[in-house]
């Protein structure tokens, strides 16, 4: 197990290192970061001053070295718009984003697993058909459109929920609900198909033949094994949820990293964009690392392979 953990850890560090390289070169995509970050009407003199001030006139390897060195010390540059360090700006908005994404994930898992299990055990029944139809549609509906329709129904027409902002429990209902739908649809379908697979295994037949109650067969023997692929997918989906949060936060003006990043992109505040991409991507790597480790605990075969 130790070898497995060490191997995963090294891999994660390697990926984060790669992420830092990509993040650094993001601003070079357009050719000249100085031109990118300054207003379009900046004079040549202003550009030259900006370049030497921010070190853009040095060799690119040196620039990256400085970028990485400063990033390791928690310095991701200064926000061009706010004039303060970029990292704290991101950090103070991170709790809002985590609250939103974690709520959405919990919601999705809490609904998807029972629905998938019910669908699998009552395959072909009206409940199964209804669940699967809703799941199919749920995967196809764009979440930003669903948000707008939700606002139209629950805020404008019924007046039950606030349209934007963060504060009370009511504020998180719509954003988290909408964010959860895509993942929930995916997990419900996956839970159903893995349950169907597991239910036809020999050990389930044995459990039934022993005369165990159906509830025990389902929860102890079937579901526990069906959970393994589910955990992986849930982990892998974290990146998608974070990406989805960027969109949803914008619709509901949820004061998280996503909304802030979108604003930074439209303000051409690229140090903030870089910091945000680096932080959120590292978060995805971290979550995937945790899932890999959890996977090793759940399924001993994985450990041995490594």
């Amino acid at each position: 197990m130790t070898a497995y953990v060490v191997q995963r850890l090294l891999l994660a560090v390697l990926v984060v290192f790669g992420v830092s390289i990509v993040t650094f070169f993001l601003t070079f995509l357009s050719g000249d970061p100085a031109v990118l970050m300054l207003p379009p009407d900046a004079s040549a003199e202003q550009i030259a001053r900006f370049r030497s001030e921010w070190g853009f006139d040095r060799p690119i390897i040196v620039q990256y070295g400085n970028f990485l060195w400063r990033a390791l010390q928690g310095d991701m540059g200064t926000s061009l718009r706010h004039g303060t360090p970029a990292l704290p700006l991101i950090a103070e908005r991170l709790p809002a984003t985590l609250q939103l994404t974690v709520t959405a994930m919990l919601l999705a898992v809490a609904l998807a697993i029972p629905l998938g299990v019910i669908s699998a055990t009552q395959r072909g029944s009206p409940i199964d058909l209804l669940t699967m139809t809703v799941a199919l549609v749920g995967q196809a509906v764009p979440n930003f459109w669903l948000s707008i329709m939700g606002i139209l129904l629950f805020s404008v027409t019924l007046g039950w929920l606030p349209t934007s902002g963060r504060g009370s429990v009511l504020h998180i209902v719509m954003p988290a609900g909408v964010l959860a739908i895509g993942l929930m649809a995916l997990l419900t379908r996956l839970a159903r198909s893995t349950m169907l697979e597991v239910l036809s295994e020999d050990y389930v037949r044995t459990a039934r033949a022993k005369g165990l109650r159906e509830w025990v067969v389902l929860s102890r023997h079937a579901l526990r094994n069906a959970l393994i692929p589910l955990v992986t997918v849930i982990g892998l989906q974290f990146g998608y949820i974070l990406g989805g949060a960027v969109v949803i936060e914008t619709v509901f003006t949820w004061p998280g990293v996503g909304l802030f990043t979108i604003q930074a992109i439209s303000n051409r505040d690229y140090p903030v964009v870089q910091a945000s991409v680096l932080i959120l991507s590292s978060a995805v790597v971290l979550i995937n690392l945790l899932v890999d480790l959890l996977y090793g605990v759940l399924d001993p075969r994985i450990r041995v392979q490594a």
């Binding site: 549609v137 196809a140 764009p142 960027v246 990043t261 979108i262 991409v277």
Partner: protein
Amino acid sequence: MSTTTTSTTAADETLSLRSQAAGARRSAAGLRVLKRSPLMTAGLIMIGLVVLCAVLAPFVGTRNPIQQNLALANRPPVWQPRGVADAPLGTDQFGRDVWSRIVYGAQISLAIGMAASLLGALVGVTAGLVAGFYGGKVDILVMRIVDLNLAFPLILLALAIAAILGPSLQNLVMVMALTTWMIYARVVRGVTLSLREREFVQAARAIGVSNARIMWRHILPNLLAPVMVLWTLELARVILMESALSFLGVGVPPPTPTWGRMLAEGRGLLTTAPWIATFPGIAITIMVLGVNFFGDGLRDLLDPRLRKQT
């Protein structure tokens, strides 16, 4: 009864006249498949509707999609009072026809979706094939790049790159392809790993067939089924992401109508003109649902193991 027989015979004759027996057998098999898979049929019909609208936009659209007419601003759909006949789904705040904009928007959605998913498939399949076939250092390098790319929240990466490069059709296609190639690479690598140990590959190698030819003639055809299933799934995702980027303001620049931007523009007018934001969303859903249905049907068809389970 007799008429059916006659028409069948007549049809048979025409087919034999064309002497395309093989083709006929294939299309007959295709029809049988559709009959057995209502999901796939439904998907095909939905995709067909959108494609038809996109291709026939100049004829299906009732008005010029970018022509403003302030006298006709914010008119509701035709079935509501104040609705006008040549704007069946209403007009937006500039008096532009929502239906015509949706129809032309389908062109953008389809063009970017197809181009990006095909480009992604091309890059991903090549990378996966090479990694799986050669193994060793090549494999490690390619797969680490895949891991790296997957670590980014894709929509955030796409947003940042699209914003930096500047929004244009070509840039969007490239950015989208960047969010999809890794999935192909992963799957193709896995399948290639197992294929390269199979007897037909060993046999080809034994008689001195070159590596390039083995990959092209012996392995690639066997990858088609999984790649096609993956392609439908990714097409749906790419279309959704394009509309999201467009919604966030880094899509194809105005005045080109896109579904995502129509939604964004309609967002501020929810209380007075809810139809502006409503209909483009329905269009996206129909398109994505159609592709998903088709993809699910295709997977059931190509992978009998899965068909048994569901």
